[in-house]
């Protein structure tokens, strides 16, 4: 297992390097000074720009610039936001917890719902309940998330008044109290559900089909022949097998959450990385854009790594094979 993990971690490094090179060149291709944000974009004086370029080392060979950027990045210096006039790292640090909270809640909702519905459908295929769930799944897969989000705001926030329509927390509540966290959860539920809707639907469907397929496997018959009750067979024997492919989805999921958060956070005015990214693109705050791009790419890589490692944990054939 250790060896396996180590191999995965090592395998990530060249990937990280390649991604950083791409992001670096994209940043170079961006207009203005997307790497450091030190050059004031409103100052169009050529002398000033030339002077700043010299000062920031933009006349050095590309690899020197890359090296400087990458080492800065790794040491937490993501440049300076041209819009907020503060270090991008601080800016991201401000929003990141919200996005992580959103993503984790979304994952939780996704997996809980997918398990509940998938297990039900898989055990009772072709029943009314299964068909209802299938209906939900098809809707979840086909309705674009922005349509669903907009609907959700109007229906659940305004019409039914069940959830807040914007923000991440009720500002009047003191930080750290239980109410504070309840308020955060209350705020995050709706966007998290919309964000996870697509995955929930696909995982439910996947789990259902996988359960049905696995329930036809020989080992199920063996377990039955041992006198193991059907319920236990589903919950232990079959489920453990069906979880394995689901775990690999986790990696993709993180990539999807990252992208999906952009749309969801916008609709729910949820102040996270996605909204910051969108705002920064719209305001040409390129240092922030590039830092977020790099960070999200790294996050996806790490997500895949986690998925790989989890995969190893749940599947002995991978772990030991």
């Amino acid at each position: 297992m250790l060896k396996y993990t180590l191999r995965r971690v090592l395998g990530m490094i060249p990937m990280l390097f390649l991604v950083s090179v791409v992001v670096f060149f994209l940043a170079k291709a961006m207009p203005g000074d997307s790497l450091s944000g030190e050059i004031d974009p409103t100052n169009t004086n050529p002398e000033y720009i030339a002077e700043m370029r010299e000062k920031l080392g933009y006349n050095d060979p590309v690899y020197v610039q890359y090296y400087r950027w990458v080492t800065d990045f790794m040491s937490g210096d993501f440049g300076k936001s041209t819009r907020y006039k503060m270090p991008v790292a601080d800016l991201i640090g401000e929003k990141l917890p919200n996005t992580i909270f959103l993503a984790l809640t979304s994952l939780l909702i996704t997996y809980v719902l997918a398990f509940a519905m998938g297990m039900y459908s898989g055990r009772k295929p072709y029943t009314l309940g299964d068909n209802l769930i299938a209906g939900f799944n098809y809707a979840g897969i086909a309705i674009p998330s922005f349509v669903a989000g907009v609907f959700a705001v109007y229906f659940f926030a305004f019409k039914l008044n069940w959830f807040p329509f914007a923000g991440s927390v009720d500002i009047e509540i003191d930080k750290g109290t239980i109410e504070y966290w309840m308020s955060r959860i209350h705020h995050v539920m709706l966007p998290a559900f919309v964000l996870g809707m697509f995955s929930t639907a696909s995982y439910t469907q996947f789990l259902r089909n996988d359960l049905i397929e696995n329930s036809r496997k020989d080992f199920v018959r063996t377990a039955l022949a041992k006198g193991t009750p059907m319920g236990k067979i589903y919950n232990v024997h079959i489920l453990r097998n069906s979880i394995i492919p689901l775990v690999t989805f986790l990696g993709f999921d993180i990539a999807a959450l990252v992208g999906g958060a952009i749309i969801t956070e916008k609709i729910f005015t949820y102040p996270g990385i996605g909204l910051l990214f969108l705002d920064s693109v719209n305001n040409r705050d390129y240092p922030t854009v590039m830092a977020i791009t790099m960070m999200l790419s790294a996050m996806v890589l790490i997500g895949n790594l986690i998925a790989d490692i989890l995969y190893g944990i749940v599947d002995p054939r991978i772990r030991l094979g």
């Binding site: 004031d40 009047e172 102040p271 719209n282 305001n283």
Partner: protein, 579 residues
């Protein structure tokens, strides 16, 4: 007394949609894409139906754009931030409904419009408990004049004697500032000007609060971003970046009792505006015209409007500007014919267009100054270009623009294909495309082939500013300030004179209007000079003036004590909630 809104304090505010933000040195005015064709009275108050203001309660104020989080007058960049600072900080001077300066935290005296003596109110306390003294103002002015200062306000300090020297590092202090005692200061400007008072930076900064912070680090400091202090009726209690701000009553407010206990400012998406107002999730919000009709339909919300200080125009690129030498270097031939420009102005049905795209919350403007401003000339004094397609066709015929090849469109006097290229900024807001398309269609109806080009908004103002050859006619908007002087937008040596309008006579009038010798304190005479200038501009048609917009507020029925006029809304200390 009316409380001045920072939205229009600064002369140069580009009007963009709510989607975007700052451009150039000034703040962009996110919320002001609005006006009323119904032209309600300049002032409308919600207190009329209610009796005595009640104490207590929490009011929720909505913002449909995200603040940048620079909560200090000296550092903020966008109007959204200013909207927030309004609640907890104020300046030495206010403006009345005629946009005339009136004393607030300080009174002033001057003999010659160059030397001023300011007397501060005593006993006014910052939120941190320190007393306001003139040193706090000196501190603010020196901060802005400091070479490391990274905000956009230097122009408001530059005219103080000795400020350039201080900025260049040649002096330790600004020589034009003479502290007499804690409450008295004498300010000397580099020369007498009529707008010295309205131009000068009038916001103190708490010296104590910023102790030990280098000027370069200020904009990133928590004193600016998360724990700002001010002099206003409310104190900042808590900030959740990018989403909400909690303000609590300032018990020690110098200017009367504050009615509300709390104000919560919430950032919302503009699609949520109507729903949030309807549900009472927010009590107040500055509305975009597009939302206003839906809000009007709500029983529990009142729509309050006041004349705005911004207008839309279609500009013609008449020349090229060199920013280094500050001169217009080249004349562009395509739209030089004034009859062509006049014809294009006559071709546009502005009433119809405004009704269609601003839902009755705007009206046609006929001059380069919003009607509500005291320098605005009467329509009878300027050239008005009413919708008159026949006149437009006639003007074009006379100018030699006729259809020579029977393709349905006019060729230029040389018989060459003539295509009007019309640029508009694009933000993802689909109405921008249709409203610019509509203008192009008006031109097509009088026989001018027209093409619309949508340019990504940030790029757009860059291109307009740099006289990019692809920009020929362009859509734009200004917010003019309380300071009547329009020089920065119109004189031939100004970067922001986007059409590159170059008429020495007009420039001379602008100078005359500011001249102490010629105009002095005579406001009427000054207005007269500006009226002459406005006539000149409308004769030359460097831009077609399209629409001026009202400010619109959606105010919940619970809210009392709110009023608003051209100078902004009243002091939030007077607002209250009906129980």
């Amino acid at each position: 007394m009316k409380r001045k809104s920072m939205l229009w304090l600064f002369a140069m505010i580009l009007v963009l949609s709510a989607f975007l933000a700052a451009c150039g040195g000034g703040g962009s005015d996110d919320a002001s894409e609005s006006d009323s064709g119904e032209s309600k009275d300049g002032e409308k108050a919600t207190e009329e139906q209610s009796g005595e203001p009640q104490q207590g309660g929490t009011l929720t104020y909505g913002l449909d754009a995200t603040p940048e989080g620079l909560y200090n007058w000296a550092f903020y960049g966008i109007a959204t931030d200013a909207e927030i600072i309004e609640f907890f900080d104020e300046g030495l001077i206010e403006y009345d409904e005629n946009l005339q300066p009136i004393p607030n935290l300080a009174e002033w005296e001057t003999e010659d419009n160059q030397h001023f003596t300011f007397k501060f109110k005593e006993g006014v306390k910052w939120h941190n408990g320190e007393e306001l003294t003139v040193n706090d103002w000196v501190f603010a002015l020196e901060t802005i004049a400091h070479p490391d200062y990274d905000g956009p306000r230097y122009a408001n300090v530059e005219t103080i004697e000795g400020a350039p020297a201080f900025r260049a590092g040649e002096a330790d202090s600004i020589s034009g500032l003479k502290v007499v005692d804690d409450y008295t200061i004498e300010v000397t400007f580099d020369e007498p000007r009529l707008n010295n008072l309205t131009n000068i930076w009038s916001y103190p900064m708490s010296q104590k609060e910023f102790e030990g912070i280098e000027v370069a680090d200020m904009s990133g400091s928590e004193q600016v971003r998360t724990k700002p202090v001010g002099l206003g009726p409310f104190k900042v209690e808590n900030i959740v970046p990018g989403e909400s701000i909690e303000l609590v009553k300032n018990e020690d407010y110098w200017n009367g009792e504050v009615n509300l206990d709390k104000i919560i400012i919430r950032v919302i998406d503009n699609t949520a505006t109507v729903g949030a107002l309807q549900n009472g999730d927010i009590d107040m919000i500055s509305l975009q015209p597009v939302s206003a009709p839906d809000v009007e339909k709500l029983d529990n919300v009142e729509v309050v409007t006041a004349p705005g200080l911004s207008y839309y125009y279609v500009g013609f690129k008449l020349g090229k500007f060199d920013n280094a030498s500050k001169t217009i270097t080249e004349e562009l031939p395509k739209y030089q014919d004034v009859n062509l420009r006049k014809a294009m102005a006559h071709a546009i049905n502005r009433e119809e267009w405004i009704d269609a795209f601003f839902f009755g919350y705007g009206k046609p403007v006929n001059k380069p100054v919003p009607t509500a401003h005291w320098i605005a000339a009467d329509d009878s004094e300027v050239n008005v270009y009413e919708y008159d397609p026949e006149k437009a066709k006639q003007l074009l015929d006379e100018a030699g623009f006729v259809d020579t090849n029977d393709d349905g469109f006019r060729e230029d006097p040389n018989g060459e294909e003539f295509v009007v290229k019309f640029s508009h900024y694009a933000t993802g807001n689909p109405t921008f495309e249709s409203r610019s398309q509509a203008i192009a269609q008006y031109w097509e109806e009088v026989g001018l082939k027209s093409e619309v080009e949508m340019v990504e908004v940030n790029l757009y103002y860059d291109m307009v500013e740099k006289d990019d050859p692809s920009i020929e006619t362009f859509f734009g908007g200004w917010g003019t300030g309380t300071d009547p002087d329009p020089s920065a937008l119109w004189k031939a040596d100004q970067l922001w004179n986007y059409p590159r309008y170059d008429n020495p006579e007009a420039d001379a009038l602008l100078e005359q209007a500011l001249s102490v010798e010629e105009v002095g304190d005579d406001q009427e005479k000054r207005a007269q000079v500006y009226a002459e200038w406005q006539k000149k501009v409308t004769e030359d048609v460097p831009m077609i003036f399209i629409a001026e917009l009202d400010e619109i507020m959606g105010v919940g029925e619970k809210v009392g004590g709110f009023s608003m006029d051209v100078s902004g809304y009243n002091n939030p200390a007077e607002w209250y909630l009906k129980q």
